[in-house]
């Protein structure tokens, strides 16, 4: 058959690999993403996996997926509707049809549609033959049969053969989007270096998929997504959790403070713990504690001892850490808490993403207990946000909660690798040995930070703790006037951080009809919606907040330049409620979604249109 096909050029495309947990969809997706990145595409990725490790085979509950949005333009989101779905079984097809449009390409293994699999997935008849998929471009191939054929001389067992179906699918996808197999071959050679037969098998299978797509008449055309124009430099694909881990490690090096992480495994934050523990060569000390409370308490002990101390968690874990957070606030010690948000309350939706811990971060403690709250806005930004969180924490002697979320943490994007010499300096307010004027609660005039006196240092023996302390000398004090003073100082110290952060950025029109306000992990999709609105001629601006407590000083000025304001967030309106308290002089509208799913651009635009019509 001829290999000549029409090649259609696309600005961007969304492809999702779906199958059973254990089918290797995360690997296929990662290899596709890395290949696209090497090929010069900008991209973001998102793994979509169930809470269970291996839910029953062929059921909708067990479907695992990996989505890649790649293009020749700046890619801000992992995309909502898929151009191509690679589905290894009927259940994964059925679960993902909601992310399709007319003409979505569906690549699937027809061998997987036996009666049992169809029944378990809830299909009454075979969708490949009953006409229900007529609106899509179907490429159905007997993967297993074709794989057996291409490796028959290798004498591979049935189970291993079956497990290579993800490679066949990947081969088809590569051909479909004009990608080559070099990176995948290189990966296989490295990964299975001691098992040459497995390397040979997988290479043959991915090549077989590739060749199958080249000659298959079901594929009318192939696609090409050209390189994106990105600033020159060295890049890597990075997930938000790895980026957060690296940002914190970088901050430790910059501050010349040893790094200590006390943490307890919890989805979807565990990867930060697993990442930092790899770098003992950088001096990182990682303590997998017996629970969330010991995680933060060990970090507080390490902070008193002079380490850049960290604890990482997700919503329910932050609840458990609340009391200890109060201890870190009253002892005025640096501590970075990364909360990778998930759907709540309680255990909620552990593997899904939401922005519903903002109130908890701001207010979830006894007493008046202010601390810095920040939110990362993309996977790569987790690096810079984590770095800044550590910098502010150390320089202002206060805990910082950094909010990320499951989408950012597990999702990835391209990250331009910085040189640490270009990162901002971090200056720890260390007390000097034998300083005759040292007092534990003497404060820096500008920041109000107290000095950090490290145990072991001569002449600085002192005690701190959870009881209220007298300002200055730091002895226990139940004096009412001193207590009021200290409550005020702790709040003022956090407010003054606004003098040390960048002013709020305003994207799009600098004044106009509608200001779109957002924070945290929704930046990409909301930015895309604003770009579309501007193309349509609307006068709109976008203020995406990274600093929440305190807010940037120019917040009020920005809000005053627009006729209407809409606050968009993946909760019922928590940032909105916070803005109504901090800036009550403005009228706010809201766009919310609490489905543990990202916003879709059209949903947002409908809200904007409605507001602009009024």
């Amino acid at each position: 058959m001829s290999e000549v096909k029409n090649v259609v050029e696309l600005e961007d495309a969304v492809i999702k690999f779906v199958g059973d947990s254990g089918d290797g969809m995360q690997l296929s997706g990662t290899l596709f993403a890395d290949t696209a990145a090497y090929d010069g595409n900008d991209l973001t990725t998102f793994p979509d996996y169930p809470a269970e490790i291996r839910a029953p085979q062929n059921t909708v509950a067990g479907v695992s997926g990996f989505q890649i949005h790649f293009g020749s333009k700046k890619i801000l989101t992992f995309g909502d509707i898929c151009d191509t779905i690679v589905a290894l079984n009927p259940a994964s097809l059925r679960a993902n049809l909601k992310w399709t449009k007319k003409e979505t390409i569906i690549i699937t293994d027809s061998d997987a549609y036996d009666d049992s699999a169809l029944e378990k997935s809830g299909y009454k008849s075979n969708p490949l033959t009953d006409g229900s998929l007529k609106d899509f471009k179907i490429i159905s191939a007997p993967f297993t049969t074709l794989i057996k054929e291409c490796i028959k001389d290798l004498n591979i067992d049935v189970k291993t053969t079956y497990k290579s179906r993800n490679m066949f699918a990947l081969g088809i996808a590569f051909k479909l989007y004009g990608k080559n197999l070099d990176h995948t071959f290189h990966y296989l050679e490295k990964k299975f270096a001691t098992r040459p037969q497995i390397v040979e098998m997988n290479k043959r299978v991915v090549k077989a998929g590739f060749d199958y797509a080249a000659t298959n008449p079901q594929l009318e055309c192939l696609y090409k997504v050209p390189s994106a124009s990105m600033p020159k430099g060295r890049y890597r694909n990075i997930t938000g959790n790895v980026a957060a881990a690296w940002g914190l490690i970088a901050a430790g090096e910059k501050a010349e403070r040893p790094l200590f992480l006390g943490s307890y495994p919890i989805t979807p934050a565990t990867e930060i713990l697993m990442e930092i523990v790899k770098y003992k060569s950088l001096g990182a000390k990682v303590f997998q504690a017996e629970d969330e409370i010991a995680g933060i308490c060990s970090a507080i002990g390490a902070s008193f001892t002079g380490s850049l101390a960290l604890t990482t968690t997700s919503g329910p874990g932050l609840s458990l850490k609340s009391e200890a957070l109060g201890l870190a606030v009253i002892t005025e010690l640096p501590l970075v808490i990364v909360n990778v948000q998930r759907g709540g309350p309680s255990t909620g939706l552990p593997t899904k993403s939401e922005q519903s811990d903002l109130y908890q971060a701001l207010y979830g403690r006894n007493g008046e207990c202010p601390l810095i709250v920040m939110a990362a806005s993309s996977s790569a930004d987790c690096f810079y946000s984590a770095f800044e969180a550590a910098k502010l924490s150390i320089e202002h002697m206060t805990p910082v909660i950094l909010l990320t979320d499951g989408s950012l943490g597990n999702g990835s994007e391209l990250f331009k690798i910085p040189d640490t010499k270009d990162l901002p300096k971090i200056t720890a307010p260390l007390a000097k040995a034998n300083d005759p004027n040292y007092k534990p609660y003497n404060r820096d005039e500008k920041t109000l930070a107290r000095p950090w006196a490290i145990p072991g240092t001569e002449g600085l023996r002192h005690r701190v703790g959870g009881l209220e302390k007298e300002n200055g000398i730091g002895t226990v004090s139940m004096d009412p006037i001193n207590h009021e003073l200290m409550v005020g100082l702790r709040a003022e110290k956090v407010q003054r951080v606004a003098n040390y952060i960048d002013p709020q950025e305003l994207f799009g029109d600098q004044e106009g009809d509608l200001l779109i306000v957002s924070w945290g992990g929704t930046k990409g999709v909301i930015r895309d919606s604003v770009i579309e609105m501007k193309k349509e001629g609307y006068k709109v601006g976008h203020a995406h907040f990274k600093h929440i407590m305190p807010l940037p000083k120019n917040t009020e000025e920005i809000f005053g330049k627009f006729k209407k304001i809409i606050v968009c967030e993946l909760n019922s309106g928590q940032f909105l409620g916070y803005l109504r308290i901090t800036h009550p002089e403005f009228k706010y509208n809201q766009a919310n979604k609490v489905q543990s799913l990202p916003f879709m651009i059209h949903e947002l635009k409908e809200k904007y249109y409605k507001l602009l019509e009024k």
Binding site: E290, S298, G456, R463
Partner: protein, 345 residues
């Protein structure tokens, strides 16, 4: 006493009690057993001989936990139950500190029970002083996890219906490497035991049978009072036979699988039949039986019951870091950022 050999920097001048006196008023009740513990600590810190800046005192919540304010060291007064978790972070972060935890039966065995057992299991080199007064003092008289069954307290007007913990049994059950017990009215023994705790590499647990004069007065009197202690205390000394009672006439022997109190000279018993204490024995079998002894059948064992050598968590942390630094290609953050799959645009 011998000198302690480890990597904690020693003072180059002789220290005295006065070096550790804090300027804070001690606010425990007159007659509280905690005063004796404070005295023993003030005795032992100069004897241990580290630089005074290398001592660190950590506590949780309760009467016991005011301790850090009353000694002049680096100190951290934590939150209820969490002293052991905080202290773990301190020691791991800086293993060159001598870290002491002041905690109570409620703090460590109720609200902080989880941290207590896991700290011990890890064998982090902490010295934990457990003030066991078998009652909640600071909250004014509720029963604790060590209150004897049937105790009448403010929250058990008809008597408690819970089986109490025995601290020694819990420590050994959690794979503890050091357990000692002392009565609060024997400051000399307490000082000796604290020195042994400091010398031990790993988690050292010193249980002090402490009197709460207000809410649980004389709870330990059957063991600690002048007229009972001779018969009801067995002070263990490593390598010496387990003799007690008037004129050291009574002793402990192993009878089949159980301990038995015998009298020298009766039924042909001689000193050769008496068990000799081996605190360094790794197998905790006899040590556990000793820790569990209680009247009326047995005396209560005092002194160092167990002091077994095992690697410590904090040493192993340092070893892994040293190994990683010698064997990894990633020695700076720039190495890290450029490691693995990267590409040039």
């Amino acid at each position: 006493m011998e000198q302690i050999l480890n990597t904690i920097e020693r003072s180059n001048v002789e220290l005295t009690k006065e070096d550790f006196v804090s300027d804070q008023m001690v606010k425990w009740c007159a007659g509280c057993g905690a005063h004796a513990i404070l005295a023993a600590v003030a005795n032992v810190f100069p004897k241990i001989g580290y630089r005074k800046e290398n001592f660190m005192m950590v506590s949780g919540i309760g009467c016991s936990s005011r301790f850090p304010y009353y000694v002049n060291t680096y100190g951290f007064h934590g939150i209820h139950g969490r002293a052991n978790a905080i202290a773990s972070g301190v020691k791991i972060s800086n293993p060159k500190l001598s870290v002491w935890v002041a905690t109570g039966d409620g703090d460590s065995m109720a609200i902080g029970g989880n941290h207590f057992i896991h700290t011990i299991r890890r064998n982090i080199d902490l010295n934990i002083i457990l003030f066991n007064n078998m009652i909640y003092g600071l909250t004014k008289g509720q029963y604790s996890p060590t209150s004897p069954m049937g105790s009448i307290t403010k929250t058990s007007p008809q008597g408690t219906i819970e089986h109490p913990f025995n601290a020694g049994e819990l420590v050994i059950g959690a794979q503890g490497t050091f357990f000692a017990r002392v009565p609060d009215n024997n400051i000399k023994l307490m000082t000796e035991v604290m020195f042994e705790a400091a010398r031990h590499d790993g988690t050292s647990l010193v249980e002090v049978l402490q009197n709460c004069i207000i809410y649980n007065d004389k709870v330990h009197a059957p063991i600690t009072s002048k007229d009972t202690r001779e018969d009801n205390q067995l002070v263990l000394r490593n390598g010496e036979p387990m003799l007690f009672g008037a004129g050291n006439k009574k002793g402990i022997r192993l009878s089949q699988t159980r301990l038995e109190v015998v009298t020298i000279g009766e039924n042909g018993i001689t000193e050769n039949d008496i068990l000799v204490h081996d605190q360094f024995q790794q197998d905790p079998g006899i040590q556990l039986m000793l820790a569990k002894m209680a009247p009326p059948l047995y005396p209560v064992a005092m002194g160092v019951i167990r002091s077994a050598m095992y690697p410590t968590y904090d040493d192993m942390v340092e070893d892994q870091i040293t190994y990683a630094k010698a064997n990894s290609k990633i020695l700076t953050v720039n190495d890290l950022l450029n490691s693995g799959d990267t590409f040039e645009v």
